[in-house]
Symmetry: none
Subunit: 211 residues, 4 copies
DNA sequence: AATGAATGAGGATTCATTCAT
DNA sequence: TATGAATGAATCCTCATTCAT
């Protein structure tokens, strides 16, 4: 293992560090308000150094995008072990929400932000991953129908519907709009619990569709 | 493009023009990335002119916010004539989607953009309207339960769940993420139809909850 | 009295109002930080109206300058009735301080501000008044010597010296620098009293010069 | 040796250059009217560069302030060697005037400019130095009384009075007001001599207080 | 590989001033 | 006479980016 390898390792580490710092800052301050300077400060390097690893701000977002999808899909892949498809579907929902709550910044990057600026083309590419995620959902829904759930419903439409519900819950939570309404009438301060409860209610509506 | 021509345009609508321009830009680029300069350019006035009509950037968002909610609530109020609560609920869903599709920019302003920092206080005020909208939904859901729907489910949770589904559908559509997935597999070019279809599927899931 | 006359009267009034407003604002905020808009607001006219009466901001300062000197000289002229020249000298000092304390803005305009911008030429003209004021002082000092005061001292030099003392007291007070030092060690909150006391001490030094 | 040191030197030089440019502009145009742009232009750098060396405009004034007081106090400290307090007092006066004449811009910064608003707190700090300077004067006056001068006069009041005279002379000279009057009647072109003469006259008045 | 220095472009605002009405 | 509307130029300041070292 020569010096070269160690250097390579270090290089990879630093790239990761930049991403991590950027992710945190995006969450805290939002994309626009996050400056390269701030990222550099966080990792205790000079701004110029960032440019040795990423061409510009866009490329950082781009990288986060890819990582984000990879992470989400990995959350789903674990669930392949669940054999009952409806159980798997429920678990997927929970995993999705969990992912969104744990990585609100990334979530928004993937599903809320219109594809950042010049990188539309690249983003399309990234979205092959996004499609894969949807495929997993679709397949699971179909399998549910195979064991008697969701009779008479179109699998694709239902998948869209389910995804929408998940997405709606997550974004209303993340953007704080859920908080507004909830606080206004809330006997419930903990919004994460609230989301959990709402999700279980939603699952109940799906469950009742069997009969 | 000279001074004369510009003046010929109805100056009295300038305030509205500013709002319209701002609305479009906020949607396209986001709040932070929209500069007063850009708004001014769009309406072909000088930046300073904007300040004759609005104190600052926040006041513009504020105005759009208010207008937006007023419009949405007006969409709902028509539906008071529908006596059957479940029919009314379905109609509300359609009205909500219709509103979002017709005014994607406003929709995002109301339900996607994190409310601009300093005006949180004011925004809370604005959100009394938002709360009202939610109240209407909640009341309708309760009435549905009164005639046998949604047995055993918590009205508030279900309302959140329904709102989330609607919101998810609308935002996935507006931000173009629905398009990505759909186009990838689409035998279906018209996304608005797709949304309609997905909505009907969702309604079907709700309908089946009776039994 | 025709309409013309009344109009003329009104016109004069308004010019004065503008000056008064400007004067107050200059005092409160300083010259640079006082905007035409602010002046206009204070007199409840539109900014454009100001320009009907004064060509620009400089002309306003110019007018205040002239008024200021006229006012100061008028303060002095009253004292002609005091026959004893030393008494008159002492009274002049008090009048000078009084003037400065009552009109700190004007005082600074006359004696601190380097002549504003383009109006140097005009200001020189204005200073004929300033010279007159100094002449009055010089004449008084000479008369004092006539009755035995200030033996062996050059009248002009002494006059400068006296003026400097007065000016120094006034400006240290006005700019707040006296306050700094005084507060630091003061058992004396009222700076105007302090200035009075310092003046009396100074007078005492002059008085003792007789013998 | 080489590069590093030279760079460091250059950096220090630039900081000084900025201060020098700022000092001149502040004096010429006043604090408010001096823009960062103007300073940048004067040193032939871009405005943004200024911000690499000073956080903002206030920090520049702050730095000038500190430097200024340090310089003034250093002028005074030399005089500790003069054992006769009255001689020392006279020397202090000359030193003060000398300082003001050599550094009119700094002098104004320290004693004429109302301290820039937000930095009052910091300025107070700076003024510990100013207080020290006054303390030195006060102590000297007291010592003079100890050897028979200024009988029956309050030391603090007399100190204020003396400071005022010095300050008045200096500012009338610096702002050009002395010139106005002097030139008008001058058999005396050299204002610095005039100030010297006026000072000696003043000293004479103090001297005569003994008897 | 890393960075200190530098900058051009652009951010929100403010203001003196003009001009048609 | 008075002003509403408009603007160019200026304010301070921030930031992504480059480049010589």
């Amino acid at each position: 293992m020569g010096v070269t390898e160690r250097k390579e390792r270090h290089k990879e580490d630093l790239k990761k560090d930049i991403l991590t710092a950027a992710k945190e800052l995006f969450t805290q301050k939002g994309y626009e308000s996050t400056s390269i300077r701030a990222i550099a400060e966080k990792i205790e390097y000079s701004p110029a150094t960032i440019y040795l690893y990423y061409k510009d701000k866009n490329e950082i977002v781009h990288a986060l995008h890819q990582d984000g999808f990879r992470l989400l899909v990995s959350h789903f892949e674990v669930l392949n072990t669940v054999s009952n498809p409806f159980e798997r579907l429920k678990a997927m929902g929970r995993a999705y929400i969990h992912f969104a709550m744990q990585n609100p910044d990334i979530y928004q990057l993937l599903f809320v932000m219109k594809e950042p600026l010049e990188h539309v083309a690249n983003c399309f590419e990234d979205w092959h991953e996004g499609d894969r995620a949807f495929d997993i959902l679709l397949k699971t829904v179909s399998e549910c129908q195979g064991i008697g759930y969701f009779k008479g419903l179109d699998a694709t439409m239902l998948s869209f519907s389910i995804w929408s519900t998940m997405h709606g819950m997550c974004t209303l939570r993340i953007t704080g709009h859920l908080g507004h309404v909830a606080i206004a009438r809330a006997n419930q301060l903990d919004l994460d619990h609230l989301i959990g409860a709402a999700y279980e209610t939603y699952v109940a509506t799906l469950e009742n569709l069997t009969t």
